[in-house]
Structure formats: structure tokens, C-alpha cells
Amino acid sequence: MITALWIMIALAALLGMILGYASIRFRVEGNPLAEKIDAVLPQTQCGQCGYPGCKPYAEAIAKGEADINLCPPGGEEGIHKLAELLGVEFKPFGENAQPKPKAVAFIDEQTCIGCTLCIQACPVDAISGAAKQMHTIIAAECTGCELCVPPCPVDCISMVPIEEQLTNWKWRYPVFKLRQTS
């Protein structure tokens, strides 16, 4: 009886030590869930969710502080992905957070006065220019977050929707007309 007890205690101590060591040795830096959520988010860094960027929003979701339907650039599909990742129900967008067609910012270079305010606002450094020099958007880097639009003192930035071209054209989902049978 006593022997069995000792064996069990010794075993528990040994396994506890192994587990304790493993938790230190294989410690995961950061929050893996937040990172997984961040990978699903569209990275526009637009702040429409109310958090200063995609990562803070991801962290808030991971902590359970934020809803999953706050990211309009991600679209409904983004919500589906988040719902699947977190194992929760799909939630439609609220009234004031509706997705818009994808767009990139465009600076009217005739009007631009070179104030650099938009450069400071751009979360992904997609505007090139210098003080009192004309600014221009690097369209390939622009995420369409619209953060550069409000600071512009001369309203020379507009959002241009991305048009369908040969380079981004997609095959459509097959749709068939049903024949009427009287």
C-alpha cells in the first residue's frame, strides 16, 4: 500500500517536472490565436473596426472584447472565415459597417499643395512625396483604407474603384436559365 503510494507520488513529481520543463522550453511567444486571426484579416489597416489597425483588432477578438463583424474590407467572407476559425456563429454586418467595392486612392496632382498630411496618415507608406513637392499614390501598395482622405486640406484625394480588366478578370459562377415547362 505504502509502496504504491510512493510510486504514484514519485511518478506525479516526475511527470510534473517534465511538464514544467516543457512549458518553459517550448514556450510560444505572443498569442497564437491573435496571429491566426490577423492572418485572416485583410490588412487594410483602415481602423473601421474602431481599433488602430488589424493587429489590435485581432488581439481584441482573441480576448473576446470585439465582435467578428466589424471589418467591412474583409467582406462577408471574412466574417465566415473568422466564424470558422473561432467556432462561433456567422454574424451579418451592422447598419453602419457595410463593405464597399475595392478602391485605391488617387491624388489630383494639379491640386496637391505638398502638405505631407496624407503621407503621415497612410498606414502602409503607400504615398510618396515630400514637403512642398507633389505627392502621389503607389497604387500597388494602396490598401484602400481611406485614411488619407480626411486630412487633406485641399480635398485632392479621391477613392477610385478598381475596375475589371483583363488582368483581374475572373470566370463567373455558371448560371443557367431554367426552361419553362407549362
Binding site: D38, L41, P42, Q43, T44, Q45, G53, C54, P123, V124, D125, A126, E141, T143, E164, Q165, L166, N168, W169, K170, W171, R172, Y173, P174, F176, L178, R179
Partner: protein, 563 residues
């Protein structure tokens, strides 16, 4: 005799090749205008290098390649460029693309042609020449041929594709019958550039005349090429399948033929390479089959940029023709309009009518009969892929190797429920590609955003450091000053003192500067001016005195309401 191998599945649709092989290839007459798209090849579109209004010669470069995978575009005949603008092209989207409009002057005057001796050229030089001449795969994919010749691994077999497995198309058949010698010379150039020993020319057994012509040309040339007759089986003309049949080697999923030591070119590409190298002619024309619902189905040698409507008019479309298909009936795409131009990839145009190609019955649910899996040449599970594509389950579709699908349409051909399976696969593929691009863009945005935040943080730190350094310097200066005047420095002199000291110093500096910058205008005066100033001052003092006296005597006048 080469031992032949076989691939899984395949179908035997009616070939309909007899109609268009009754008469020889003829040159299509010069059209009233040519529309030459700048994107006729896989990869990046060429960049226009001519101006509107410029006169160009036949074979003159009008679009130069941009980027790695790209090719050159040339003027198909001599004439004037009248426009460089967006125009409708042969693409299922019906979206416009950048094209040059060329009005021929009727002279068909060649520019400079520089025939080369390929034996004296290295593979590298040949590749550059083919790129300059705009040679791309003429089998339909239009992949730049120079890229196919530059390969990092050793290629020991060159496969020449003369299978032409798709129904109705006969342009390669007729080319082999009539221009076998040129093709063989082109093959030798490609073989030289690749540095291979073994050359296999695969031709399906429904083209006996082409086989005989090619065999004759090979015998005459005394090159050790092998003309191999392969059984007619759709899609045996797919590069990977022809390689399997001829060599027994299967190109693994996601790999290129060069990874297994084989490279494959179409016969028409070999002929174009021959014209480019030995005649110095860039690719400005090709043989195209016009067939289907027309009075005279046949093959034309037509200039690139010829509107399809001109070709169809030559063959006289029957009145009930209601649509046109570019390519074959299995893999071809419907033309958005019949006046779109012929491009390098156009091997065939089929006039279609409801009588010739009856509209398919409405699709029925999949009954999972797996007939599609039996005929799939890539050994996929089309019924599962359909299921995943239909339910937008793209991850699963990718797991089931959707991207190995060659869109041959064999599955849809045998489907008893007449489900347009290929349309679902195309939809799923383009969605997956778009998502991949989006994902890449998101990753880039994340990286840039994180770097920006790092940069802002770093700048903040640097600023703080600079400030601290200045403060240290100021404190040291103060300490030094204190030691000079020998007053004991309070060791507890804190930040406030430093601040005050800096303010004082700044004020003193400002005063000094103001004094130094603007000397008063009352300094350095002449004696006359001085006298004048004194006189004025005296007068002013006198007036002041008078005013003071008057103020003492009576009150200053008041404004009264009555006045």
C-alpha cells in the same frame, strides 16, 4: 519502332477534320485594316514603341517585351498606325485590351530581314533572337518560346507536337503536309538551342498524309529525328500527355516537362522558328482553320490582326450561323464579336449554329456515376471537384489537385447530366488565383504597416536620445561655467534649473542677435542731421508745454448732444 505508352482515360469525339483538309492553304487577302493586340502571349503585355500616324514596314517592331515572360509584337504588313487604343479582343470576358490599328498601304514592304546561321549561334543568342522575333507557342497557349529554351536542367528529349487532337482543327495537319521541310529545319534549330540528342515527332494516326510528308522531310534532311504515329485519342495533343505516350515519362503534378528532361514544341512553333532564324522574319502571320458552318471550310495563312469577320467572309458563313468559337469545340472560347482580330494563339475559328452544335440540355444533378473520372486524362476525380467548386469549397478543391486539370472538357463531354463541369473548374481556379493575389497583397500591407510602426518608434527614440544628449551637453556647460566663477555648484541642480538656465541663455542670445542685426537709425549721424533732430525735439517740447498749459486752463471740449 518506338514503344508507345498510354495515358488514363481520353475520349473519341467525331474529328470533323476532313472538311477543311480538302484544299491547300491559301493566303488570305490583305484586309482593310489590321488590329494588333499588344497582349498576344502568356505573361506581360508588350509596350508600344510606335506613334500614331507613323508609317511602319512589314515586320517592324511595334511592341517590345516587358519583363521576363513577354514577347515582341510586329507590324504584320507595311502601312500607317492610325490608332493605339483599347479594342475588343478574342477573350471570353469581352473586355477590351490595348491594340494598334494598322491601315495597310498595299505594298506589303518588308523591313530589314537578317537571316542567321543558327549553327554559329549559342542557345542564349538564339533565345534572344526568338524573343525579338516574337515567337510564341502556336499550339494555343502562346507561351514565349525563348523561355521554353532557357532551362536550368539537362533536357535529353525534344518532343514535337503534331498530334492536333482536337476536333475540327487542321492547321497543323495542313502545315505538315505542305511545309514539312521548313518544320524539320525549325526542329533542328530548336534541337540545337536545347542541346538534345533525341527528337520525337508525335503525329496522330488520323493524319496519314502529314505523317508521310514529315517522314519524307526527315529522311531528306538526314537528321536523326523519329516520326512517331500515335493513336488518335483526345486529349493526346496535350503536351504532358504526348510526352507520356512517346516517352513513358509522366510529368509530376506541379512540375514542368523540363523537370523530367523533356521539352515540347508545336510543329507550327518550329516552323515559325525556322522563318525567324533562317529568313529573319518575325512572327506576323499564321495558318488558321476556318470551318464549321461555312460553305468552304479550309486553312488560310492570315496576317496577325486580321479581323475574324474577314476570314469568315472568305469561307462564306451559312446564314444560320449565330456564334463563333476560337479554338476547337472542346476547349475553345466563344468570340465576343466576329470582328475581333486573329492573334498568335488563334489556330481555328468555327462558325457555329444551333443545328451544328445543339444547345446542351439543362444540367441535371450529378448522380455520381464517375464516368468523368473514367475519362479524365489527369486521373482526377471530376465529380468531387465539381462538388467543391459548386459549393465554393476552394481549399478542398485545391487539395484534390484542381490545378492539374487541363480543362480538356472530356468530363463534360461524357457527363450524362450534361453538367458544364469545365465552367465550374474555371470559376474555382480563377477565384483561387484572385484569393492568392489578395493574400499576397495583405501580407505585403501587413509587412509595410509593421515596418512603419517600427520606423515611427525608432524615430521617437532617436529624438529622445538627441534631446537627452543636448541636455547633457548643457549641464556640462553649466558645470564648466560654475567652476570658472568658482561658485559651488549645487549638486542637486535639477531639471528645472537646467530649463531656466536654457531659457535665460536663449533670451540673452536673442537680445544679442537683435542688437547685432539692426543698428538703430539714430546712430552714426552727420552733424547737420543731429542739429535738425535737436531742432525738431525742441519744437516738440515747446508744443508739449503749450498743450500742458492749455489743459491746465480749461477742460478739453466735450461733444454735446445738442450740436
Amino acid at each position: 519502332m518506338t514503344r508507345l505508352h498510354s495515358f488514363h482515360g481520353g475520349i473519341h469525339p467525331l474529328t470533323h477534320k476532313k472538311e477543311s483538309t480538302q484544299s491547300p492553304i491559301i493566303s488570305a487577302p490583305l484586309p482593310a485594316q489590321l488590329i494588333v493586340p499588344f497582349r498576344q502571349h502568356a505573361g506581360d503585355a508588350a509596350k508600344p514603341v510606335v506613334q500614331v500616324g507613323e508609317r511602319v514596314l512589314k515586320g517592324q517592331l511595334i511592341g517590345e517585351p516587358v519583363g521576363m515572360i513577354s514577347s515582341s509584337i510586329h507590324a504584320p504588313t507595311s502601312g500607317t498606325i492610325t490608332a493605339i487604343e483599347l479594342q475588343q479582343i478574342a477573350h471570353p470576358s469581352a473586355l477590351p485590351d490595348l491594340c494598334a490599328t494598322l491601315v495597310p498601304d498595299g505594298l506589303d514592304e518588308w523591313g530589314v530581314r537578317q537571316p542567321l546561321n543558327y549553327r554559329q549561334l549559342s542557345s542564349d543568342e538564339l533565345q534572344k533572337h526568338l524573343r525579338r522575333c516574337g515567337i510564341v507557342g502556336l499550339g494555343g497557349a502562346a507561351f514565349p518560346s525563348d523561355m521554353k529554351l532557357s532551362h536550368p536542367v539537362v533536357v535529353d528529349t525534344l518532343v514535337i507536337n503534331g498530334a492536333e487532337c482536337e476536333p475540327y482543327i487542321t492547321c497543323d495537319d495542313m502545315l505538315m503536309r505542305e511545309r514539312a521541310e521548313g518544320i524539320v529545319r525549325g526542329i533542328e534549330i530548336l534541337r540545337h538551342a536545347l542541346g538534345t540528342d533525341s527528337v520525337l515527332i508525335g503525329i496522330e494516326d488520323n493524319k496519314p498524309q502529314a505523317i508521310a510528308a514529315m517522314q519524307r522531310a526527315v529522311d531528306d534532311s538526314s537528321h536523326p529525328f523519329k516520326v512517331v504515329t500515335v493513336p488518335t485519342l483526345y486529349p493526346g495533343g496535350s503536351a504532358k500527355h504526348l510526352i507520356k505516350v512517346l516517352t513513358g515519362v509522366e510529368v509530376p503534378s506541379g512540375k514542368l516537362p523540363t523537370d523530367v528532361g523533356v521539352q515540347c514544341f508545336n510543329v507550327a512553333t518550329a516552323y515559325a522558328a525556322h522563318r525567324a532564324v533562317e529568313h529573319g522574319e518575325p512572327l506576323v502571320s499564321r495558318v488558321v482553320t476556318v470551318t464549321g458552318n461555312v460553305e468552304q471550310p479550309r486553312n488560310y495563312e492570315a496576317l496577325i490582326g486580321t479581323p475574324f469577320s474577314d476570314l469568315v467572309a472568305l469561307s462564306v458563313a451559312k446564314p444560320d450561323t449565330n456564334r463563333y468559337i476560337m479554338g476547337g469545340p472542346m476547349m475553345g472560347v466563344e468570340l465576343p464579336a466576329v470582328n475581333v482580330p486573329l492573334v498568335k494563339a488563334s489556330n481555328c475559328v468555327i462558325a457555329a449554329s444551333d443545328a451544328l452544335f445543339p444547345p446542351p440540355p439543362a444540367p441535371m444533378p450529378c448522380i455520381r456515376c464517375t464516368r468523368c473520372a473514367q475519362v479524365c486524362p489527369v486521373e482526377l476525380q471530376p465529380q468531387d471537384l465539381f462538388w467543391f467548386a459548386q459549393s465554393h469549397n476552394f481549399g478542398k478543391a485545391q487539395e484534390f489537385d484542381l490545378f492539374d486539370c487541363i480543362e480538356c472538357g472530356a468530363c463534360a463531354y461524357v457527363c450524362p447530366s450534361s453538367i458544364p463541369l469545365v465552367q465550374y473548374y474555371r470559376y474555382a481556379k480563377s477565384e483561387i488565383r484572385a484569393r492568392d493575389l489578395e493574400k499576397r497583397a495583405a501580407d505585403l500591407a501587413r509587412e509595410r504597416h509593421e515596418f512603419r510602426q517600427f520606423r515611427i518608434e525608432r524615430e521617437k527614440q532617436e529624438k529622445a536620445e538627441r534631446l537627452a544628449q543636448k541636455e547633457r551637453a548643457a549641464a556640462e556647460a553649466k558645470a564648466a561655467a560654475a567652476t570658472v566663477i568658482a561658485t559651488p555648484v549645487d549638486p542637486t541642480a535639477d531639471a528645472d534649473d537646467t530649463q531656466q538656465m536654457r531659457i535665460d541663455a536663449a533670451l540673452a542670445r536673442a537680445k544679442e542677435q537683435a542688437a547685432a542685426a539692426t543698428p538703430k537709425n539714430t546712430e552714426a549721424l552727420t552733424p547737420e542731421q543731429r542739429a535738425e533732430i535737436e531742432a525738431i525735439e525742441a519744437r516738440r517740447a515747446h508744443i508739449h508745454e503749450l498743450a500742458a498749459d492749455a489743459g491746465a486752463d480749461d477742460e478739453p471740449p466735450k461733444h454735446s448732444q445738442g450740436n
